[in-house]
């Protein structure tokens, strides 16, 4: 049983998806989705404990030995990522029941859960697979499911957002597969570990450099690295609330992992960061993401869109950590994967509660929310504090390590910019505080029902509580991230 964990992680949600379509029943499909998500979390935790301390689990699909067959290769990096994805899934799936019932037409419920299961299968597949082409297929499985989930939003703009994401996402995935194809032509293998072993023997470096460029641009599109983020704000703003929370916490994080894996485990740190100016380019784009996206966020009229732009900025912090190419920098980046997943997941879950009560998500609709929905509003304020990086929240942990990593390299100006970026976050979080606490509620709204239902509040507050808990007790998250960084820097997979 233990030896089958890597494949079960992917196959359980993959099989559940068509089962849900056969069930044709919303509640039954939801129960199945809950079971699948919780089972995924249990498996991911099992895998993480299996590889703790620098272990490696290799699973040969259909008993075809690698490098001929497809291999699932799990180390502390992707086990950590699988835990993030399935943890968010396990929380969000509970929340989905009520939120989806309000936002998606009844007859589409079972299809919604089916798409959710497919998306989960795809994301976990990307995380675990050790095969380049397999990774592309899982990319497309998760992306196609995502396009459908976004298009299910109530607003008609959701359709256009899904279409634009489909075009950009497909271009990104195709760039990725061109890169993998060039690597295959030069090395004759698709197994990533095998590829890494053969790349040093390649005599003509030009196609390999082209592959690096194609993969970087393709994956950057998927992870919404500035300036390739244009699909993200609308997709997050108009998708159903539960979908936004799930995607914001998982999809971009998985893409960051793919970039890390190719940079450190396939091409190798020396080829990517020493021989090429990748670090400087990534640094410039990350800082641009932090500042441009934060400033744009301040001027948004729609709260959900504002937090979507804030996601682009936070992804900038993650790639900033990667660009340092040091143990501390990588630790900061990887721990921020986890911390941002918690923070943004919680924020979008809470906003979903407001979406049930308010007509729209504009700031004018939020007036007096502090009085109408005290728990929800207070949760959003706590999540906002974590985005800013106030001590006692997870955001502080990431920012602290980013600053330390910058100072390690003597780049005090980057440390200064990280802190300055936090001030911009303060500005946009303050806009919510002002609308929610410093205005009298609309009398029409005040007559309506108050707080969000418990089935939505509890999962959201669970994540907010985790934001505070992991901000105080960093042993688990930082330990995992530090170990993952060590494994990546070692280079061998």
């Amino acid at each position: 049983m233990i030896t089958q964990l890597p494949i079960l992680q992917v196959v359980i949600p993959l099989i559940a998806a068509p089962l849900m379509v056969l069930l044709r029943h919303g509640t039954a499909a939801w129960l199945l989705a809950v079971g699948v998500s919780w089972a995924s979390l249990a498996i991911a935790l099992g895998l993480l404990s299996e590889v703790a301390g620098g272990g490696l689990v290799s699973y040969a699909l259909g008993s075809w030995p690698p490098p001929w067959g497809i291999e699932y290769r799990v180390d502390s990096v992707n086990a950590y990522l699988a835990v993030i994805v399935s943890m968010v899934a396990a929380v969000v799936v509970v929340y989905m029941r009520r939120s989806v019932a309000e936002e998606v037409p009844q007859e589409h419920h079972y299809l919604f859960y089916s798409m959710y299961a497919l998306c989960l299968a795809g994301l976990l597949g990307i995380a675990l697979t050790g095969d380049g082409f397999n990774m592309f297929v899982f990319f497309e499985i998760s992306s196609l499911a995502t396009y459908v989930l976004i298009a299910l939003g109530r607003d008609r703009r959701a359709l256009m957002a899904a279409y634009q994401y489909l075009i950009m996402g497909t271009i990104g995935a195709t760039f990725f597969v061109i890169g993998v194809g060039l690597l295959y032509l030069m090395t004759g293998t698709l197994n990533l570990a095998d590829m890494a072993a053969r790349l040093p023997d390649v005599t003509d470096p030009r196609p390999v450099l082209a592959a690096l460029a194609f993969i970087t641009v393709g994956v950057s599109l998927k992870l919404a690295l500035f300036p390739l983020h244009l699909w993200l704000p609308n997709a997050y703003a108009y998708a159903p609330s539960a979908v936004t929370a799930f995607l914001a916490a998982t999809a971009t994080k998985v893409s960051v992992y793919v970039l890390l894996r190719f940079y450190f485990s396939v091409f190798g740190e020396t080829a990517v960061f020493r021989a090429l100016p990748t670090g400087s380019i990534l640094l410039a784009l990350s800082l641009a993401a932090v500042f441009v996206a934060s400033v744009v966020a301040i001027f948004q009229g729609n709260v959900k869109r504002m937090f979507a732009y804030s996601s682009v900025a936070q992804i900038g912090y993650i790639t900033l950590g990667v660009s340092f190419d040091s143990a501390t920098g990588l630790t900061a980046g990887i721990v921020h994967l986890f911390n941002h997943a918690l923070t943004k997941g919680a924020l979008f879950l809470l906003l979903g509660g407001i979406a049930l009560r308010a007509a729209a998500m504009r700031f004018d609709d939020l007036r007096g929310m502090g009085r109408l929905m005290p728990l929800t509003s207070f949760g959003i304020v706590l999540g906002g504090l974590s985005l800013i990086g106030v001590p006692g929240t997870v955001g502080f942990v990431s920012k602290w390590y980013l600053v330390v990593a910058a100072l390690e390299q003597g780049a005090w100006w980057i440390a200064f910019l990280v802190v300055a970026g936090s001030l911009l976050a303060l500005a946009y979080v303050w806009r919510f505080v002002e609308a929610a606490y410093f205005h009298a509620p609309d009398p029409k709204m005040a007559a309506g029902p108050g707080e969000a239902p418990l089935s939505m509040l509890v999962p959201a507050w669970l994540m907010i509580a985790a934001c505070v808990y992991f901000g105080l007790d960093t042993g688990l998250t930082l330990g995992g991230a530090g170990e993952a960084a060590q494994v990546l820097l070692k280079g061998k997979w």
């Binding site: 297929v137 497309e140 359709l159 899904a162 489909l166 060039l182």
Partner: protein
């Protein structure tokens, strides 16, 4: 390096750039999807062309044949074609829904309508 011996790569690059150009330059949602489809097709060529050796046969070991073509790219591209069709079908389905919601499939008209709706 001989340009003529690499003509399949030239065709591939032409399709890559042509497809991307259509996606960027056209405002019609269906035409954009056709651009994406051409762009994806170029990848099929990129994978398959190097797998073929002139005079090569299927990799069945007999004494008669010494030169074999690589069958793996074909199998990979079979998967890629399925992915491409799924993407195109989903994209077209979205365009149908967009047309129902907006009454247009021209990107600029749709964006104008959204802007008017916000006021």
């Amino acid at each position: 390096m001989n340009i003529a011996s690499h003509y399949s790569y030239w065709v591939t690059m032409f399709l890559v750039i042509g497809g991307l150009y259509i996606v960027i330059a056209r405002g019609n949602l269906v035409k954009k999807l056709i651009g994406v489809a051409i762009f994806q097709t170029s990848v099929y060529l990129l994978y398959i062309a190097p797998g073929k050796l002139i005079g090569g046969t299927a990799p069945i070991i007999t004494e008669q044949f010494q030169v074999y073509s690589n069958p793996l790219p074909h199998v990979l591209i079979l998967t890629a074609i399925v992915v491409g069709i799924a993407t195109l079908a989903l994209g077209l389905a979205l365009v149908v829904r967009i047309r129902e919601a907006y009454g247009s499939i021209e990107e600029d008209e749709i964006l104008t309508r959204d802007r008017d709706g916000e006021r």
